[in-house]
């Protein structure tokens, strides 16, 4: 198959593979449903076989054969090391900072990595009512670090989110500390165009990688703020045949 990038993989596949590579073997990962779940399950089949998948349904160490549709499919409980109640997963496991990586999606994300999954437009008269917070605000606050996976477009990458559902770096440096958020916040944002990371000083998301075939202008055109590129902007390694085969086994393609 050839795509509009002239490659034998799609931009979504590149995104999922790039996200999976960021997860390290042996880490514990609090997994959101959708794109994060697919990428985390791919990581378990490629670079991180001992990744501990934790879903908010209380399933710790789930090992599903295929990515589940929901965060509570039966296969998660059947294959988990432990199944705990919902208060326990949030209070005993997430809140004290035991979990390495929070892996989240977003409807909107802004230059400081704040995430909106609540409403587009005003809260009391929304243009689009989105599902809401779920576990994300506390995942974003308490995991040691956060990885976000989201398709890049001007609609999603905005100067300031319409609603802060989950805090990244708030309004900039020092905000996480001031708010008492103990995790380090979003370290990586993976899109279908490239990878963004927060500037170590200013906390603003900066482009560090472009996926093969994507230009800096394309990434900027898909970003609602003046996107800065890292001085050592690199090209992402394309998916290997093994990564693609593993991903396609997962997604049934």
């Amino acid at each position: 198959m050839t795509t509009d990038l002239g490659t034998d993989y799609t931009s979504d596949e590149m995104m999922t593979v790039a996200a999976a590579r960021r997860l390290r073997d042996g880490q514990s990962c609090f997994v959101g449903i959708g794109l994060p779940s697919t990428a985390a399950n791919l990581a378990r089949r490629t670079n991180a076989p001992d990744l501990v998948l934790i879903y908010e349904s209380g399933t710790i160490g789930a090992k599903p054969d295929l990515p589940p549709l929901s965060i509570g499919d039966g296969v998660l409980a059947e294959t988990a090391d432990a199944v705990v109640s919902v208060p326990e997963i949030f209070n005993y496991w997430l809140q004290p900072g035991r979990i390495d990586v929070g892996f989240l999606g977003a409807a909107q994300i802004d230059r400081f990595g704040n995430i909106n999954t609540t409403v587009i437009g005003p809260y009391d008269d929304p243009k689009v009512r989105l599902p809401g917070a779920g576990g994300a605000p506390e995942i974003a606050a308490s995991c040691r670090e956060v990885t976000v996976i989201v398709r890049q477009s001007r609609r999603a990458f905005v100067e300031r989110v319409d609603f802060v559902t989950s805090v990244g770096f708030g309004s900039g440096p020092g905000d996480r500390e001031r708010l008492g958020l103990r995790g380090s916040g979003p370290r990586t944002v993976i899109t279908d165009l490239g990878i963004l990371e927060p500037d170590p000083v200013g906390c603003e998301l900066v482009l560090t990688h472009l996926h093969p075939g994507v230009t800096l202008d394309q990434a900027r055109a898909a970003t609602g703020w003046e996107l800065a590129a890292a001085p050592d902007l690199r090209e992402t390694e394309p998916p290997t045949p093994d990564e693609l085969a593993a991903l396609r086994r997962l997604t049934g393609r």
Partner: protein
Amino acid sequence: MATVVPLAEAVAELVHDGESVAMEGFTHLIPYAAGHEIIRQGRRDLTLIRMTPDLLYDQMIGMGCARKLVFSWGGNPGVGSLHRFRDAVQNRWPAPLEIEEHSHAGIANAYVAGASGLPFAVLRGYRGTDLPAHTATIKPITCPFTGEELTAVPAINPDVAVVHAQRADRRGNVQLWGITGVQKEAVLAARRSLVTVEELVDELEPRPGAIVLPGWAITHVSEAPGGSHPSYSAGYSTRDNDFYLAWDEIGRDRETFVAWMKEHVL
């Protein structure tokens, strides 16, 4: 001691117009049969409480049962939006819907406080988000020992909690296993409770990981085999993911939705 009664009788006795009803089950064991009975009995002005409204509350909202929704994640898991919920919030159809919006951690802790007989719960949550500005039941609180600023949410004590479980014995002791969500907390926080079960048995065999709700902590138990469909009851059924995918089309359009409810629920 719980009494075992037919579902229609239990709903008629326990669920009243204008009251607060918590129907829990986190993806697993969602009490659909009981929700459908509430719809058939035409309850109105309910405050519906549920972490993940799921298709069940989408149906109850679309059929006009709800005045208010207390929730933390209102989507169709892995599929997308709940269109009846969206239509109610965006367009006030079929009626305006007041919302009280939380995070999962917030509601889970509010149930724990309710079950514990405490007025509120404390958590590290919501800090820096826009939720406290829109939800009156999220407030900052200072730790009296360290001075640290944390967040408080008031206890949830529903008038009635409704959950589904795998089985119960004839004395109303309930056994459930798999993903147990917040069902135990919801039942113990509520003034009255109804548990629907897949099966009534003479003797509850012990099962690893199962929790038991003693009959004396429950008001009524009703037998409702298959009563969690399209969610599932581990050991009895699997999640009907095809139905969750199909609901996206059924729920999207008002007329299609009402026709489906008339054919399958009413």
